[in-house]
Amino acid sequence: MTRILLVDDSDQVRRSVRELLAEVLADVAVGEAGGAVEALALLDRETWDVVLLDLSLPDRNGMDTLRDIRRMRPTLPVLVMSFHTEAEYATAVRAAGAAGYVAKGSSSGVIATAVKSALSIRG
């Protein structure tokens, strides 16, 4: 079973992504966190195969959260999802160790491919 931690403050977004993941992946368990603090607590408690991280979190800077996750679980792939499409974001999250960057508003197929691609580089 594939365990995916979904970090986004929007319930709507989490629901849509969760449904998308359930549809495209055969055996998947999705954990959800509405903010950075909650996400880091889940990371600490449970084991995950990939993290989908929104950079715009209400309680903490997304880039800092990304760096914290990478420090806690250096081998855990983190796929960054963000509403912003500027290239600087892609460059910055890559530099911070993210497995990939996918813009919110992309089609389901793009997002599914990105998640699968992130999972494939795991361990």
Partner: protein
Amino acid sequence: VKQSGVKQSNAVFRILFVEEEGLGQPRVDGILDLTAKTEYVRAGSLREARQLLESERFDLIVADESRLRRVIDSIYTFVGLFSIGGVVIDVNQAPLTASTLRREQLVGHRFVDLPWFAHSASERSRIEMAIESAGNGETVRLETWIRSVRDGSPMCIDAAFSPLRDQNNIITHVIASGVNVTSRKRAEEALVASQARLEEAQRVAHVGSWEWNIAENRVRWSDELFNIYAVDAADFVPTYQGFLSRVDPDDVEHTVAIIRQAVEGVTPFIYDHRIRRPDGSVRMLHTRGEVIADDSGKAARLVGSCWDVTDRWQATRELEHVVSTLTATLEATADGILVADRTGKVAAPNQRFLALWRLPSDFGPGADVRELVDRVRDQLVEPAQFVDKMMELAGDEEGEVHDILHFGDGRVYERYAMPQRMGGSVCGRVYSFRDVTQREGLVRKVEARRAEAEVARKQYEIILERISDGFVALDRSWRYTYVNTGGGRMLGRNARDLIGKHIWTEFPEGRDQPFHQAYEQAIEEQRPIQIREFYAPWKKWFENRIYPSREGLSIFFTDVTGQVEAQEELRVSNERLRALAARLEAIREDERRTIAREIHDQIGQSLTALKLDVGWLRSQLPTDRAAAVAERARAIDALVDQTIETARRLSATMRPAILDDLGLAAAVRWQAREFEQRARVSCDLDLPNDSPPIDPAVALAMFRILQEALTNVARHAQAQKVHIGLNLGPGGSVLTVADDGRGVAAEELERPTSLGIAGIRERALAVGGEVTITGSPGRGTTLTVRVPTVAKRGR
């Protein structure tokens, strides 16, 4: 004669024969036998014998006795026959005639007892001895002085006392004879005296005489000549060569030539030459010489005199020097000088005089002052006055004049006329003229300037009275020399009452106040000082403009209290306005952030979910018969995409999330790329790879400044390229935006309507930063923002 036993001697023995006519031939042969050294002379008459006896000496007279007696009586020689004891036995007529004594007064008396012949003890003794000697066989001859029996005057007698022997050669008597030689004696004495006087005269006049026997090369010098040469007669034997060795080397050739010429031509000569004394001193001699020829007409001897004219020569040389100095001085002086004698004859005008009066350079001595006046009078403005003055001076030897002469062509001369005195009496007149045209011109100019200055001063005072500023002038001892009315009013005094008063006595509260210090400083540094200070004693602001001068200080002062207060109000108001603007900007930024976040969090998230849901719906639609539904779903999807894009742009415009998410450097890079695409201007970036955390307010301000600057570049610069530099050092953040556009002029930067620039300045100011903009037309513009930043600890 033989029997008389005349004693033979070495001297020639002279015998006079007196032979009267008819007397017969004497036995001359016998006499001739007497001695070879006998010379005899014949007298044919008594008269002849007397003449011979008077002019010559004879040892023996041979004559008939009676005749002899007459002869003896007729001669002027005194003859006396004395006893051996010296008693007068007989005398001839001559002494009786000479003394007017009678024979009886003499005969029978000892000769030496006669008062007339041996008047003094020493003479008496000499004669006694002579008579005694004669008595002993010896002839004694002597000169003795006797007194004239007639008048007691002294007479010199050449006397002889001889023995008279009888046939047996026994001395029986003494023969005395004597001749009055007083006049000869007197002449001899006069000669000696005159020779002595000549020597003395030579000595006094420094005239020496010499004689040169050429053949024998024997030279004789007078005593004074030795003195002149300063050589000792004992050491120096004068010769011609010796003389030449004393001549000054420079004059030897000349001397030799002169003497050779004189000797060859047998001509007298006169010349001057110098000699050197043994001590090295030089004397100048004036020599006159004559050549004395021998029988053949050749030069045998040179005689002459030398006159030591050194003093005269030196005096002449000194005089020449003085005259030359005076002449040179006269010619070198800038004054024109004319000397005229008492008769008005021009003696010596200098060249300057001639030049001053436009006279030919050969106008000179001998001319008459009146003639001179006639020649120059027309040059003057008032010739008549000039002529009158000259005539007046001609009649007044003692008169002195100092006046100014004006010429028709504008020249101005100063004239001095002084009597020339010599030994206390007037001997002429000296006129001195000086060209003072320039000086007079200057004097007039100075007077004109002074008048102008006075006018200017009055005008100045009028202006000072009219200005609203206060004005005071202080002298160096802090006393008021001038206070204008406005100044008096401001000081609360009557302006006129303050004149002469001491400022710190009148206003003691002003001592050591800033204004006082400024006055001191202005005096010390001698430069104008402007000062605006609060004057605490009067609770007012004053502005002083202080000008130091040699006389003291000039101070303009104005009460600027209202102005300062207005300025202060303006400043406070400006600060409030700025705070307000900053606050408004902050509010606006907050609103933007809020809006951007709302867009992101609400609209963006909803759209994200919507997008996914629409995607799911589309995937669930049957592909065969629901083409219309599928088409509608695809349209919804596209609309969602469009909306997402709009939301993104709106959010980024409000506030780029990248600034908060990725930091200033990433935001700058993004903004630069955006600008490149939008404005088609290439950007050259110099950014740090890693952005250290900086104050978000500073980062925002810098980002907004960058945006504003790039907007300006796009609008105005017409640039091809922009260089953007960012330096986030520990001391501060520096953002540089440099374009290669048309450049910006200084006045454009200050223009109030350059709101872009004003906004940039305000933003920088709000975070404690500063902006500099440099540029010149054609060379682009560079904007630099410096903001001191404080690094935050940790992340």
